[in-house]
Symmetry: C2
Subunit: 164 residues, 2 copies
């Protein structure tokens, strides 16, 4: 098995974990599942990537929480195996949905709550600007909600838009 392509992909995917907010190990484990066709058990992943079992265990837990991998079972084998979502668009949408839920939504709620208490326009505060910010965030929130509600719909919209 020619492993260099897999290694390269794992490195590349690992180094961009920051784009969606996970650490290198998590992204590397994910990269390994993406780049290979087989399903992997914990020990094999640890050996293949040269990291500890406990690290793999927590990384897999994290990847499950993002909804981008799933367990599989081989008959007669007690171990848990993992594969990633084969559809790359579905994968990306899972990540974006989760990231929105975890980081963007709370921000929007926060800003809304802050502006609730700011009806009286006190001195020195750029209240107009903060209101524009709130509106912008709400627009993005609505846009993201709409786009992320269905991969297929979003893909159609993107193609339509790109062909104009």
């Amino acid at each position: 098995m020619d492993t260099s392509i897999v290694d390269d992909f794992v490195d590349s995917w690992g180094s961009m974990g920051s784009l969606w907010g996970v650490n290198t190990s998590v992204a590397r484990v994910h990269g390994l599942l993406i780049a290979t066709e087989s399903s992997w058990c914990l020990d094999d992943i640890a050996q293949r990537l040269g990291i500890s079992k406990s690290n793999v265990s927590t990384s897999l837990k994290e990847l499950r929480s993002w909804g981008v991998i799933k367990k599989t079972f081989l008959s007669g084998d007690r171990r848990e195996f993992y594969v990633c979502e084969p559809d790359v668009w579905k994968m990306l949408f899972s990540i974006m949905r989760e990231r929105k839920k975890r980081e963007f939504d709370p921000l929007v709620s926060n800003i809304q709550a802050i502006l609730e208490n700011a009806k009286e326009s006190p001195d020195g505060i750029a209240l107009e600007r903060l209101k524009q910010m709130e509106q912008m965030l709400e627009t993005f929130h609505a846009l993201a909600t709409k786009l992320l509600s269905s991969e297929n719909q979003a893909r159609a919209i993107i193609s339509f838009f790109m062909n104009k």
Copy 2:
């Protein structure tokens, strides 16, 4: 001056620096400039946020590199003052453009380069999936390039889309 709203906003904005990849101090300084109408000099920012001058200095440098603040001068005052971009949409677009350039573009190049060397479809590698990934990334790249080329155009597209 009622500072609690500013403080709340600074906290909120500071805690979401990770969304666009800057640390808390950088985001807090930015938050302060966003939430207030005045222009700020280094020392006053340090005092207001309770952080060191050197931290403010590097944070301002970082914010300049993202293109989200600019220097102003008061006549008869030797100090450098800073204000943020008043248009929140322009601000957001600056951040997105810069983040794309710094993190997304290199990823796309990487994946492309890796797949260059993978014409022969070796065993155990999900080559089809990696090609789909590459295509998806290229689609997003094209989409982002188009959307980020003009705030006004993008805003028009978003409104059009949201009203359908």
